[in-house]
């Protein structure tokens, strides 16, 4: 007997949880929900009173910091691997 999720896949072409999401080139977009969910849980543990506008603002700031830091690190690694390392190879 087939699993209900497998049966769903036969009709829609995508079986959630049984096969990976077809994100292809858009995998990096998952960084945003990851940063947001991480911030929600971390700030809930860390803040004295996790409620109200202060909590929402803290979550937003932390999520933005994570995304910006990841983008900056990606750019630095890109420059290192694609621009700086080839200089040593050609030398």
């Amino acid at each position: 007997m087939m699993h209900p999720l497998a049966l769903l896949g036969q009709s829609t072409g995508f079986r959630p949880f049984l096969e990976p999401l077809p994100l292809h080139e858009w995998w990096w977009i998952t960084l945003i929900p990851m940063a947001l969910l991480t911030s929600i849980a971390y700030k809930a543990v860390r803040m004295p009173q996790p409620k109200g506008a202060r909590y929402v603002r803290s979550v937003g700031i932390m999520a933005a910091q994570i995304v910006i830091a990841m983008v900056v690190i990606s750019l630095l690694l890109y420059v290192l691997v694609e621009r700086i390392v080839p200089l040593f190879e050609s030398a």
Binding site: M2, H3, L5, A6, R15, P16, F17, L18, E19, P20, L21, L23, W27, T30, P33, M34, L37, T38, S39, I40, A41, Y42, K43, A44, V45, R46, M47, P48, P50, K51
Partner: protein
């Protein structure tokens, strides 16, 4: 603070993410931790499929993932035994991202477990963070 009560508080937090705080009469904090941890867990499973939890093939990744709680072992059992014929192996970026989501869920729940177990100190830490 007794060792037994410390272990008990940590165990509640481990069983279901957020439950430790509910036991400590802080349901709002528990609900927010549960949203974050379960959101990351479900997100990881959706992105990479259930293949991202694999105690045998990805043992070292499973160690941080196991801090999500018994549900990680249940999902591994489902992956290995119940759904093994239906599961499509995920590879590449989606596998990496999905694995990372579940690892983040486990690591965040570990923070919550420690915070619940060491509750007295936790209040102090939070006060310091405020200042």
């Amino acid at each position: 603070m007794g060792t037994a009560s410390m272990v008990e508080r940590g165990l509640w937090a481990y069983l279901i993410p957020g439950l430790g705080y509910v036991r400590l009469r802080d349901p709002r904090r528990g609900a927010l931790v549960a949203i974050g941890v379960f959101g990351l867990l479900i997100g990881g499973l959706l992105i990479g499929g259930i293949d991202v939890i694999d105690r045998k093939d990805d043992f070292w990744w499973f160690i941080p993932q196991s801090f999500v709680g018994p549900i990680a072992f249940l999902l591994d059992h489902l992956h290995r035994n119940v759904l093994s014929s239906s599961v499509e192996r995920s590879i590449g970026r989606v596998n990496e991202v999905g694995t990372l989501f579940v690892v983040m869920a486990g690591m965040l729940n570990l923070i919550a477990i420690l915070d619940c177990a060491l509750e007295d100190d936790g209040q102090e830490r939070r006060s310091e963070a405020k200042a």
